[in-house]
């Protein structure tokens, strides 16, 4: 019996799990160092004691959390931040949806041109755009002047909640439009045509066909805009005139002005909890859609 020539050893086969772990490792590491560690650090700070004048003592106390939960000012802050952000998200959705739908149906270079137009505000920093809005909405600005010229009582649009609302809605629109377009994948024009052929009115086609098929995009856009609205502080700071108290502006004040880092950390963790709730709501919506 002649010896069977040894077959070359096959290259090591990656098992599916191993490869996935290996590919995920770099991003997991970056996230651990750049995100998880700082968040854990924040969580730790939230149990530190703040000294008068801005010092910080590394002890373990529930003081900050107890103070937060027992002070009606902070509860109002959470409530305000959530409802204002929800209202802004909804307004952004209503004004962005038609644009996204039109863009989804457009084609060729016209579509490219319009998409660039939609994205172009993102090329300018939100700070610059906010200053732009201040110039437009102040009491001697063009909007208030136009309202006065028509003979209507001029509302004060700047340095209050209205200003924050208008500014943030415009700033969040590109994000909403892009998220909506990304989620419009399932919207096949042939389905709409079928609905119309079968005698559905345009309104019925919209409510029974288009809207349900675009719900994943709506959920994604709303999640994104809500998270951005809750965490934005530049626009509320610049346009709120110091009258609009939100979680993000309060974190800024506590961290940068009064130097109460333990309280700022506690509020930051609270924001993370709000984000967690938003993510939970989002996945619940997605589950129901499936």
């Amino acid at each position: 019996m002649s010896a069977v020539p040894a077959l070359p050893r096959p290259a090591r086969q990656w098992r599916d799990g191993e490869l996935a772990v290996l590919l995920l490792l770099p991003i997991a590491l970056i996230n651990a160092i750049g995100f998880i560690l700082p968040v854990l650090n924040l969580a730790r700070y939230s149990f530190n004691k703040s000294r008068i004048g801005g010092g910080m003592e590394a002890v373990f106390t529930w003081e900050n959390w107890a103070g937060l939960l027992s002070d009606p000012f902070y509860l109002e802050l959470v409530f305000n931040s959530v409802w204002i952000s929800l209202a802004i998200t909804l307004t952004t959705l209503v004004v962005s949806y038609p644009i996204a739908l039109y863009l989804h149906r457009a084609s060729g270079s016209w579509r490219t041109f319009l998409t660039v137009l939609v994205i172009s505000p993102l090329l300018t920093s939100a700070v610059v755009r906010t200053y732009g809005w201040i110039a437009i909405l102040t009491d001697d600005g063009p909007v208030v002047s136009a309202i006065k010229a028509v003979g209507l009582p001029a509302p004060s649009l700047m340095f209050n909640i209205k200003g924050v609302f208008i500014g943030l809605t415009e700033i969040l629109m590109p994000y909403m439009i892009l998220a909506l377009m990304a989620g419009f994948g399932r919207l096949d024009p042939r389905v709409e045509e079928a609905a119309r052929t079968l005698g559905a009115t345009p309104a019925r086609t919209f409510t029974k066909v288009i809207l349900p098929l675009t719900l994943p995009g709506i959920a994604l856009g709303c999640l994104l805009c809500f998270v951005l609205a809750v965490s934005s502080f530049i626009t509320p700071k610049l346009m709120g005139g110091g009258r609009v108290f939100l979680l993000a502006t309060e974190i800024y004040d506590q961290a940068i002005v009064t130097l109460n880092w333990p309280l700022a950390s506690t509020l930051s963790i609270l924001v993370l909890i709000v984000f967690g709730a938003a993510l939970w709501a989002y996945s619940a919506v997605l589950r129901r859609l499936d």
């Binding site: 005139g241 110091g242 009258r243």
Partner: protein, 351 residues
Amino acid sequence: MTAMKNATRAGLAALAMALATSVAMADTVVLTAYSGIFQENYVKAVVEPFMKANPDITVEFYGMPNSAQMLGTLRAQASAPQIDIAIMDVSVAKAATDEGIFAPMDDTVTKHIADLYPQAKVEGVNAVGVTFDNLVLLYNTDKVKQAPTSWNALWDEQYAKQVSIPAVPDIQGTTFTIITDKMAGGTNYIESVEAGITRLEALAPLVQTWEPRPDVYQPISSGTAAIGIGWNARAQVYADLSDGKLGVVLPQEGSGFQINVIGLIKGGPASDSAKKFIDYALSPEAQAAFTEQMFYAPTNSKAAALISEKAIERTAAGAMDKMIDINWLEVAKIREAITEQWRRRVIPLSR
């Protein structure tokens, strides 16, 4: 192989020597203080003349927008400081001292301590006053025809919705609370600012913004607001740049000081040269030069004689008797209570 090892060794030795000499030669002092116009003027009036007199020392100015950020950076570097000197607000410096960030400030650092005004030496803070500033009344010269003389101009109905006030927790708001309290008959702001808060409630409906941005000087210069409050030194510089649009007044009722202190960072890399710079920064010459440049009042009592009449007039130095003595370390204890009063009682009335 051995030849290669030797070559590597020789190379490393050369590199080490080069590094060692460069460390010895380039004595670089890193100074952190406010960015923006403070940096611009401080470099011109103090840092550059110091480097000219000490060619072997380079001073690097690391500007940061506010004291809180400086404290944050110093905190993060506590185990291996990269910064040698900090100029920051006295209440933040107290926090930094409590955390062991500053080295002790005594005659071994500077020989000028004895010449400093008493307000510049704050018990429990390892840093001494380097600039005095004070709150002033600002107005737009187009909108306010006659220069106001009293803080009461802020309550004038004709400027309704054109008043710009940086609210607490900003210390301009805190200083203003103390001034208002005194005007309204309050006798001891540490015990209660009730009288001041009640007076501020009347001001609230007239206020345009409690959060002027980028600062209070720009909207008043441009006419977006008519009248407001701000710090003297910056106001004087911006007034010169505004073509006469920004008016600045130290009202007859007086005002309160804000104190910036200078301190040596414990374990900073350039200790001896850093001490030399601090000594220079507190000298009558440097103090006088910075007053001429940016109108902060000097903290060294011997500087006044070197400053021109014109520059002195634009600081509070000529009105020392009218200044309220604000103990910032005591104020730090009541700051939260004042903020709460503003948020519950004052700001809601302006909605």
